[in-house]
Each structure stands twice: as C-alpha cells, then as structure tokens.
Amino acid sequence: MAKTHVSTTINNEPVEFLCEPNQTLLDCLRNELQMTGTKEGCSTGDCGACSVTVNGRLVCSCLVFGVEAEGQNIGTIEGIGKAENLHVIQQKFLEHAALQCGICTPGLIVATEALLAENPDPTEAEARYYLAGNLCRCTGYDKIIRAVMDSAAEMRGTA
C-alpha cells in the first residue's frame, strides 16, 4: 500500500513524514519521527500516557491516525522543556516527587501544560477533573496535584 505524505507542525516546527493509513499518531511520533518522549500505555485511550495536544486540545495520540495530523499543530513533551532547561512544570514534578516509574509523566506534563494554558488559576477540583484521563499507578496522585498547583502558582508569579 502506498504510504501517505503528511505535512504538519510539531512543537511549532514544520515536519513532514510518510505513514500508512493504519498507523496511529503515537506510532508516527515514536517510530517515524523518533520522538520517543510520548509513551504508549494501554493503547485504548484509558490511561493518557500518550497524551499530546492537537491545536491545543489534549488527546490520546494512540487513538488518532497519523494522517489526521495533516495541517494541524501538534504539541508533545519534547516541546515543553529540555533536560538542560526544564519547564516549571517539570521542575515542580521533580521537587514534589510526583513520579516514580515515569511512564505516565510525559502525558501528565503535557496535560498540565494544556490545563494551565486554558485555566492559569485552577482549583484543586478543576485540576483533578482536567487530569482525570491520565492514570498513574505509583504516586496516588496527591504529589502530582501538589506539583500541578505549585506550578500554577509559580507560573502566575504568586508562589
């Protein structure tokens, strides 16, 4: 089967790749573009490990076809911070020990970034509602929520 050519924008940079119609966006990111920051968890939309943003909307990349990225603006964990220059959210996740095994972390950080872009001053309930699609089996969520609330405060400049 002929591969489809996709032109898209990932983390504000134009990107082109070839993929089969039955490849997911997650598969394209990890295996065609070697952007392995986005993780595969359940591959059925339950866990949120593969969360990315499509035009600012938080989605599970495992349930979106790669070809659907055509002309869209995709945001992944690679666009949020670098090892030598961490984003506030990443720094707060470290400070609050909001991760153990780390598989859910990229998804949670992308989700937190999307939350704070939409709502810079969320209540704890709003934060929990927004992050409800991201499962973590290690931390019990409290540390994550503390990191999110602290990031929000820091980013508003009220910490």
């Binding site: 089967m1 489809t4 089969e20 119609p21 039955n22 997911t24 997650l26 598969d27 595969e40 591959s43 059925t44 939309g45 339950d46 949120g48 969360s51 499509v54 909307r57 938080l58 989605v59 599970c60 495992c62 349930l63 979106v64 076809f65 070809v67 659907e68 989700a111 509602y129 927004y130 992050l131 409800a132 699609g133």
Partner: protein, 329 residues
C-alpha cells in the same frame, strides 16, 4: 502487546457529504464510518473489525457546530463532547445535555470523541468486545447470560438472547429532551425521534441503532419544548472517570407551584436501548414534588426488571437515581 497492529485498509477523507455518501454506499458493509475514532480504533486494534475501507468524516465542513434555529438548536454530529459540554447555548437551554457530555469518559476522549460517535458506539459487553461468536456477533450463544457469566454490567429489561446494554451517557439526555436524529443516505434524509433511533436485540441483534450500511447520522435537533426546564443528570460507575455507567439517569421536569406539570425521563445501562421511563412519567405527572412522589416513582421504575446473576444491585441503584431525579432536580 502488539495491540496497535491494525489490519490494513484504504482511508478516504471526503470533504463534502455528497462524496462521503457515495463512498459509504459503494463500500456498504465493507466500509466503516469514522468520526472521532475513539470507539473505532479499539475495534481495529483488537482486529475484530477489519473494514476494507474507512471513511473519515472529520474533513466535512458543516457537521461540527451548534446552531440556534427558530424552534430549538441543531448540533452537527461531529461536534466534540467537550464542545457540547462547554457550549453556552446548550448550557443555557439544555444544561442536561451539557452535564451528560461532561461525564463521558475522560478529558482526552471528550476532546476528540463526538456526539454522533457517542450515540452510535457499540455496546461494551466484554464477551462481545473480546471477539467471541456471540449472538450479537452472528453466533448462536450468549456468554454473559450463563451460570458462570460475568454480567454485573448487563441488562435488567427486555433482553432477547443478548443481554448487553447501551453505554451512552448523552443518549438518555437526548431522549429526555425529545431530540430528533437526522439520518441521511443517498435516497434522502429522515428525522427519527431519539427514542426510536436506538433498537433492541428483538429488532436486530447485530445493531444498536436504526442505522444501516449507507446511512449517516449528520445532525441532532433539539426542540425548545424543554428549554430551561428543571434537569437532573447522574451517572454511577465503578470509577469516577473514563468508566461507562452502571446506571445513568436523565430527566427534564416542568414544575409549577411545586406540582410536576410535565416530565420526561430516560435511564441508561439497564436495557439494550436507553430506557424511556414512561411509567414513572405517568405516575408522577400532576403530583406534588415531594418524598412520597419520589418513592412512588422509584417503585414504579424497576417494575418488570429481570436481573441476571450478578446485577441485582442495579435495581436499587436505578430506583435511587429516579428518586433523586424527582427530589433534587
């Protein structure tokens, strides 16, 4: 697990409804209509459904918005659940639907999943989803309705060989609001009452809705009949998020001087179709809104239920939800 090794298919991305319809008609039962894809991809990844052609509707303009009309609103079938949850017109007139849409699955799924997909999704019976050759899959047995069957999520009413339930949260809300579903095929368009859009196994055991190959749900119309009424929606599930309802309830009431003048109520998770609770409506209409009426409604709601081995708990659950809908709306 190599779960995302979907089998191959040809992908079509028509940009207008006319082309979409001709593709859908051409491929018939070998074709698969894709909206958000959050139900479809699960089927493809499990390799249980292997369509030859997938027709993606997401590029069709005009199917993804909420419009005000002379006598109500029109919702394009590709409007996402988040858009419905946040839409100010829907919140103002039909908050019931907004609340129901906000309770579906998880934020990620609501952001991409559509209202059309939510009402057209297939049942979640785990035996059927696992790919077993049950009645619904064209076989000649039901694995859930057996002495050892795991059936705590299955139905209470009107089973006919199959005991699966309707999983949708928005469907009961649409029935309570007297919505109309606009179904289009190459021969024309048809408006079908939401209540009649869903069909049970007695009518066709392999389908959940009236849609046949070649049909597309394009629009949902909600008349102003219940605009601004007193609404109640509640969903009870094992998990707070991402889970399907064990039982959900949607009701719209008009109350004057504490008397229930008009009421419409529908309940999900108890029958293969979202169940309109006509008996409850008839029992409470004209009565004062109080504890006694609520109790009367609850008792009448579960009349005729035939529980399976593990789902007796759904009877009091359903009764309590009906009670709350009357008391707390």
């Amino acid at each position: 697990m190599a779960k995302d090794m979907m089998s191959g298919f040809a992908l079509y991305q028509p940009t207008d409804l006319k082309n979409a319809l001709s593709l859908i008609t051409k491929f018939g039962s070998d074709g698969w209509i894709l909206a958000g894809g959050y139900d479809s991809l699960d089927w493809f990844k499990d390799r249980i459904k292997r369509p030859k052609a997938v027709i993606d509707l997401s590029g069709i303009t005009g199917l993804r918005d909420v419009r005000e009309t002379n006598n109500g609103i029109e919702i394009g079938a590709l409007t996402t659940l988040t858009e419905i949850h946040q839409n100010s017109l829907i919140k103002q007139k039909f908050n019931l639907l907004s609340e129901a849409a906000g309770k579906v699955a998880s934020p990620q799924i609501r952001n991409y999943g559509t209202i059309g997909g939510n009402v057209c999704q297939d049942t979640r019976c785990w035996y059927y989803r696992y790919g077993l050759d049950c009645y619904r899959a064209g076989g000649n047995t039901c694995y859930a309705d057996t002495p050892q069957g795991l059936n705590r999520e299955h139905c209470l009413f009107n089973a006919d060989r199959c005991v699966a339930v309707s999983p949708s949260d928005t469907a009961p809300a649409l029935i309570a609001l007297e919505a109309e579903m606009i179904v289009v095929n190459q021969t024309g368009e048809q408006a079908i009452a939401a209540e009649d859009f869903f069909i049970g196994p007695g009518i066709d055991i392999e389908r959940m809705t009236v849609l046949k190959p070649g049909d597309v749900l394009t629009t949902i119309r909600i008349p102003n009949t219940w605009a601004g009424a007193q609404f109640y929606f509640e969903k009870v599930a094992d998990r707070n998020t991402w889970d399907f309802a064990l039982v959900n309830i949607a009701s719209a009431m008009k109350i004057k001087d504490n008397v229930i003048i008009e009421i419409r109520m529908a309940c999900g998770g108890v029958e293969c179709v979202p169940k309109r609770l006509t008996v409850v409506e008839n029992v409470v209409r004209g009565n004062p809104r109080d504890e006694e009426t609520a109790q009367l409604a609850a008792n009448s709601a579960s009349r005729g239920a035939t529980p399976l081995n593990q789902n007796h708990f759904k009877i009091p659950l359903m009764e309590n939800l009906v009670k709350r809908a009357i008391r707390e709306a």
